[in-house]
Symmetry: C2
Subunit: 320 residues, 2 copies
């Protein structure tokens, strides 16, 4: 991952606000506010890494595409903050708090459209198909998540639809775009997409584990937030069958409560951890990482390909 960062991060940062420099000065201001707040730029790195892994010499034309994919992520964060009524994002007051819901929604729209515009200039129609499909699924996933709040019997399949929308499909699109920029719509591009899906799922599962296992100091946000909000995530799903009838009833009631007590949340956490929900979920995440790395076996064994394997491993090596 260090090599990808060292080689590409300066290029990405340099071009990051280039395409949102609108005559409506406000847009650049809001865009910068959230872009400058940081983020690991994992999506552009993934895109450029795949372009290089399949043999791109000059990545000049892929840089704008990689930036466009970061815009899609940023746009979804902006809309997300409005949807969640978030107070903070990356340690700063969220954009909706600073600029209001109106400006935040519209700047998100502007960034979505700009991303597609960049693809119509530097990309191709196959990429646009994959990217617009990803944006569709992102919205679908979030809508499904809203709808499934407090539904203790949400299926595992629904959980994966939600996390695919939250994280995996955009990672998939990054892999696809990077590979497609060299080899077009071939098997390699689809393997790259699938790699993205799999590390995206692993990433989100690990996030969902950390919500149960970490401390608020380490996480920079309150822990056990998901269950508090009535969201059923993998560490709970995976031990649902092991619950006693009483525990089951406890969870069913808990996820419906608007304001559960700290004791109730603590009890929920204790049950999930005592039944090994975090460990089983971690096994699942590792399985996805293995599958993702397996996809790379069909790629040339160059330095970039090895970096992409490291990146996959990095996801489950975050402290769980």
């Amino acid at each position: 991952m260090e090599r990808l960062k060292k080689e590409f991060l300066p290029l990405v940062e340099e071009n990051l606000t280039k395409y949102i420099d609108s005559h409506v000065e406000f847009i650049l201001k809001v865009g910068r506010y959230i872009l400058d707040a940081g983020g690991k730029r994992i999506r552009p790195l993934l895109t450029l890494g795949f372009a290089k892994a399949v043999g791109k010499e000059d990545i000049t034309d892929v840089v704008p595409l990689s930036v466009a994919l970061e815009y899609l992520h940023t746009a979804s964060l902006l809309h997300d903050d409005v949807v969640d009524g978030a107070e903070t994002r990356r340690g700063k007051p969220s954009a909706n708090r600073v600029f209001g819901n109106e400006t935040t929604v519209l700047t998100g729209d502007y960034m979505y459209a700009t991303a597609l515009y960049i693809f119509s200039t530097y990309g191709n129609i196959e990429m646009i198909k994959v990217v617009s499909d990803a944006v569709k699924k992102m919205a679908e996933g979030q809508l499904l998540e809203l709808k499934k709040i407090a539904d203790f019997d949400m299926t595992e399949q629904e959980y994966f639809q939600i996390i695919d929308g939250k994280t995996a499909v955009l990672f998939g699109a990054c892999g696809y775009v990077g590979a497609n920029s060299v080899v077009g719509d071939t098997e390699k591009s689809h393997l790259a997409y699938d790699y993205g899906i799999k590390i995206g799922r692993a990433f989100q599962i690990v996030d969902d584990i950390l919500d149960y296992t970490s401390t608020s100091d380490k996480l920079g946000k309150p822990v056990c937030n998901d269950i508090k909000e009535g969201k059923i995530t993998y560490p709970l799903i995976v031990i649902r069958e092991k619950l006693s009838p009483e525990e089951r009833e406890f969870f069913k009631q808990l996820v419906k409560k608007i304001n559960p007590t700290d004791e109730e949340i603590q009890k929920a956490r204790d049950i999930v951890l005592s039944k090994g929900g975090h460990k089983l979920a971690f096994e699942k995440a590792k399985e996805y990482v293995r599958k993702a790395i397996n996809n790379l076996e069909q790629f040339p064994d160059n330095i970039y390909c090895r970096e992409l394997k490291t990146l996959a491993n990095y996801i489950v090596e975050r402290e769980v």
Copy 2:
């Protein structure tokens, strides 16, 4: 216009919800809610009209594109309602009131993305460039409008940027897509785009006139709403230079007021009408209609081309 309606409207209506039939059932419900509330489908008719005007025989492949353009319009209405905190839309409670801001924002995102996905399937990269540019400008225009509220000295250029975003660029995109589906990215397609821009401007100017001249019964919404909200529109812009220093000061103060009185609004209306703001604005709208029709002189003189001329005239023949 009747011919276009008769020939195309059933096709458009038949396909209108086909592409938003998501496995997340909520999306279809919200999408239908606003699509079923009506609307004149002027954007699909414009698109199909231009395809036919330049000689398309079989419009099967243009129908999804025309529906996609209606989705873009619908998505912008959904986000607009959230932005304005609207209570009603087309005589029904607005989507945000019925489904909440979260669902409304995300369904809008879904419809934007679906439209682009349709273009990646049935359209081409030139269309996607024009369409994504239009969506960028739609967001820019709305942001500029927000920013210019209460700014009495807003320029005429800024007014046109705002109304281009509100209406004209999407009409332009409809013209372009229709023509491009037959003749590609040629002069005719650009003339069709420009026709759309011009009738779009005329349409919005007439809307802005009606806000000063009509009655709330006829309009189905409160009159003099723009000035009440601190929005400076063409009927006022065009007589700004004719105001006495006292009248000028009155307007400058008025547009800044959160809750102007009925008397103040009445006075503002009287001043605009007594100086002929509505008549001068109407001249401008007619000028745009003439220019739009002029663009059509370079098209084959067939029934569809004549229909597009009628459509342009219809815009200024609405009761002002």
